[in-house]
């Protein structure tokens, strides 16, 4: 068969058509509901970071004080608040972000590492900050 005839045959040939798809509406709804950005706001992490920076400033400007001694002082005075901000909240953040990373990985269908890291960099940063707060608190 000549090239022109073959081209014509390809154009004229009957092809399968898609007229109705019953699964379409349910799939549209499921995709619209699938949330893969489950990162919490930075706002919550700002509180312990702010408190630590205040304590750091206090240790810098007040003689005979250190960051650790100031944290210990705060722990003695505001026991509950300190535990919430420096222990419970960072642990919650670490767990939440690990779950979030798992969910993104699962939803993305085993993506390439670079693409995956690009989409979860914020979660990783938040885990690192939370670990930093835990380390400072445990000193």
């Amino acid at each position: 068969m000549e090239k022109e005839d073959f081209e014509e045959k390809l154009v004229q040939m009957t092809k399968p058509e898609v007229n109705q798809l019953k699964h379409q509406d349910m799939l549209a709804k499921a995709i619209a509901n699938a949330k893969d950005k489950t990162v919490l706001s930075w706002w919550w992490l700002i509180i312990p970071l702010y408190v630590i920076s205040m304590l750091l400033m206090k240790s810098l400007f007040m003689p005979n004080t250190t960051l650790i001694s100031n944290i210990h002082e705060l722990t003695t005075r505001q026991k509950l608040v300190t535990y919430i901000f420096f222990l419970i909240l960072p642990i919650f953040f670490i767990l939440f972000n690990i779950m979030s990373i798992r969910k993104v990985y699962h939803l993305s269908g085993n993506p390439k590492s670079f693409i995956f890291l690009k989409s979860v960099w914020l979660n990783i940063m938040m885990i690192l900050f939370s670990i930093l707060i835990l380390i400072v608190f445990s000193l």
């Binding site: 019953k22 379409q24 349910m26 995709i31 509901n33």
Partner: protein, 185 residues
């Protein structure tokens, strides 16, 4: 409603993504079905493409291309990824957590029956698709968009991000290779 208005609506309310489905799911599904000749692959790849589109819809901006072209581009990339990697992962239908999965699977099964019948009606087409799938991906893309989807060269060039001159040369060489393969049958 214009594409731009629809896009803004989706950005402010993700539930309106369903409207994009109404407009483009069937054409894209048809495109993938005609390229693969297989219902299950078409269902999986099309769903994956729309899921990716939904995830990145906020980054879409009009830079000379329409949403339709953008969706064809995503679908083509997803299909090529599928061909190259034959990637093994859980079905997207399980991953996105469809409520009433049993009902959804029933619908999918009904669609599968309908479209397997539809595919069988076009046996000559399936023979061409089988031969086309043995060619390099670059030829599969252009031949499928030109002769199966009936797209103009300009639109194909936009979808594939190539120049029209390159497209013409790919079409000519691809057509010749496909003709040789089909003549051997």
């Amino acid at each position: 409603m214009t594409e731009s208005e629809l896009l803004n609506r989706i950005k402010s309310n993700p539930d309106d993504f369903a409207d994009l489905f109404i407009l483009y799911y069937k054409p894209i599904f048809g495109y993938i079905l005609r390229r693969t000749g297989n219902f299950d692959e078409a269902a999986d790849i099309t769903a994956e493409a729309f899921f990716k589109a939904f995830k990145h819809i906020n980054n879409f901006s009009y830079k000379g291309i329409s949403i339709k072209v953008w969706l064809y581009r995503i679908a083509t990339n997803e299909l090529n990824l599928h061909i190259r990697q034959k990637k093994k992962h859980n079905s997207i239908f399980e991953r996105i957590g469809i409520e009433d999965l049993d009902i959804f699977n029933d619908y999918l099964q009904e669609d599968r029956k309908d479209y397997e019948k539809e595919l069988q009606k076009h046996d000559q087409f399936l023979i061409v698709v089988k031969e086309l799938k043995t060619l390099p991906i670059k030829y599969q893309e252009v031949i499928s968009l030109k002769y199966f989807e009936g797209k103009e060269n300009k639109e194909i060039a936009e979808i594939l991000l190539i120049k029209e001159g390159t497209l013409k040369s790919l079409l000519s060489r691809g057509l010749e290779k496909l003709r040789e393969k089909c003549n051997q049958i």
